[in-house]
């Protein structure tokens, strides 16, 4: 019985990995895509950051604003990449690649989990860019290997979460045009109703409540604590990762139910 369970678990992992490996392989064939994604965080840190540093009151007090912002921009750039991930599912559906996935015996959830993981790996390039840039701007980065590792895990989980959210939207709207519209509409509230570019303490109470319900807030919290020297997590890393992993599992479960219907 236990052996059977282990065998099916191994098979499940191999199927999910098959999907993820194929996605990662595509990046290896065409890495240019990653470079173009470097532009956005650079603009945010150099243009927005340099101006906002001058504004009194926006800094949370004990850290410099540029330090505070760099972790937020890391989370934001991963969010922006992940939130449009669903469009590839619509693209695959229109092409016929999706049908190949759906007629395979792999459970829907293995397909979705594999896609989510690959989106997480895809986002790691953002970490390289933001770390380099932040270092150049004199941000007090922690180079403790354990901290860096935690940052990478937070990015993978956070990006898996938002890419699966994106996949759910794609399964519902089903066309590229509608998806693009909704993607734009969703990104801004997720980004602004979080602690990414200003502390929650500056927000009115209602917005603070919304932000506490926003998974991005927990991703930013974990990133900020681990990326910066002398910074600590506001909610505790266990809480941050608990929320991120929990919501990701919930989204994978929902997306698995909807993904099969994409083939109709």
């Amino acid at each position: 019985m236990a052996e059977g369970a282990i065998a099916s678990l191994k098979r499940y992992a191999a199927q999910a990995w098959g999907v993820a490996a194929a996605e990662i392989q595509k990046l290896v064939h065409d890495p240019l895509e990653l470079l173009t994604r470097a532009i956005q965080p650079v603009l945010w840190l150099l243009l927005f950051g340099e101006v906002m540093v001058q504004v009194r009151g926006v800094s949370p007090g004990h850290v410099r604003y540029m330090d505070f912002l760099s972790a937020g921009i890391l989370a934001q750039s991963c969010l922006f990449v992940a939130i449009f991930y669903g469009i590839s599912a619509i693209w695959e559906r229109d092409l016929g690649v999706l049908q190949r996935y759906l007629v395979s015996p792999a459970p829907r959830s293995a397909l979705v989990a594999g896609k989510a993981f690959s989106a997480g790996v895809r986002a790691l390039s953002q970490a390289v860019i933001v770390y380099l840039l932040a270092f150049g701007l004199g941000v007090g980065i922690s180079f403790n290997p354990l901290h860096i590792l935690t940052v990478l895990v937070a990015i993978v989980v956070g990006s898996a979460l938002f890419s699966t959210f994106s996949l759910i939207i794609a399964c519902i709207v089903k066309t590229r045009e509608r998806f693009m519209g909704i993607g734009q509409v969703l990104t801004m509230p997720i980004f602004f109703a979080s602690n990414a570019i200003y502390p929650l303490s500056l927000m009115p109470v209602w917005l603070r409540i919304v932000s506490r319900a926003n998974p991005l807030t927990y991703e930013v919290d974990a990133l900020r604590a681990m990326m910066l020297n002398g910074e600590s997590s506001a909610y505790g890393l266990a809480c941050d990762f608990g929320v991120l992993v929990g919501v990701t599992c919930l989204f994978v479960a929902i997306a698995s139910r909807l993904y099969g219907r994409m083939g109709y």
């Binding site: 098979r11 191999a14 199927q15 990995w17 098959g18 999907v19 490996a21 194929a22 392989q25 595509k26 064939h29 065409d30 092409l95 016929g96 690649v97 049908q99 190949r100 996935y101 759906l102 007629v103 395979s104 015996p105 792999a106 459970p107 083939g263 109709y264």
Partner: protein, 264 residues
Amino acid sequence: MMIETRELTRRFDKLVAVDRIDLTVECGEIFGLIGPNGAGKSTLIRMLTTLLPPTSGLATVAGFDIVKSPAAVRQHIGYVPQLLSADGSLTGYENLLLSARLYGVPRRERAERIARALEWMELSEAAGHLASHYSGGMLRRLEIAQSLLHGPGVLFLDEPTVGLDPLARETVWHRLLELKKSARTTMVVTTHRMDEINEYCDRIALMDRGRMIATGTAQELKASVGPGASMDDVFIRLVGARAGSEPGSYRDVRLERGAEKAHG
């Protein structure tokens, strides 16, 4: 018996796409499915491949119920959709590796099976090239190889030769005939080409407006229409009774032409 359906029906709102179909396909048979655009061929195949649940009726494929055990059905079938299902941003080898992983081909057997499939489909030399650089005929052969890697008992092919030149068409059919001989694989094929139906299919079903209006061997169908009749005559005579009311939807046409462009 490899496929059996009883009163299999699929409705889309008011439209009855597949209307109480009774069908049996024997082991090792090449079964041709013909009919005008919108007749319900693709919907029937999508139900038999578990992509689409039926509204009512029963069907078993390779001995498994399509509604009760879809995962078991998927493990025993191969499906080559009409659309372009090979991923153009992966190489031929990577496409096959993805299929091997999704179908749970054991790791130690993967390399050998993939090498054999590439050789059999005369794709060994092109294995390391991106599929987006393949010709239409190569893509079709790759897709067929992908759907055969796990040794399925039943293979569904939706318009396998659409958009191919005569030589590429013949290559595809020769491979399919070899497969029938060596592995006794049962095949269900849809096509608009009456010459292929006549030459390669053991039995044929003619569908129109969701109903099965005739079944039999090519000889039987031709004899039923009159002495000296061709398969074209069969099609025109049996379907032509209601000429002028083409039910093929915009979506059908778009998919078909899109597929032709992608393969051509």
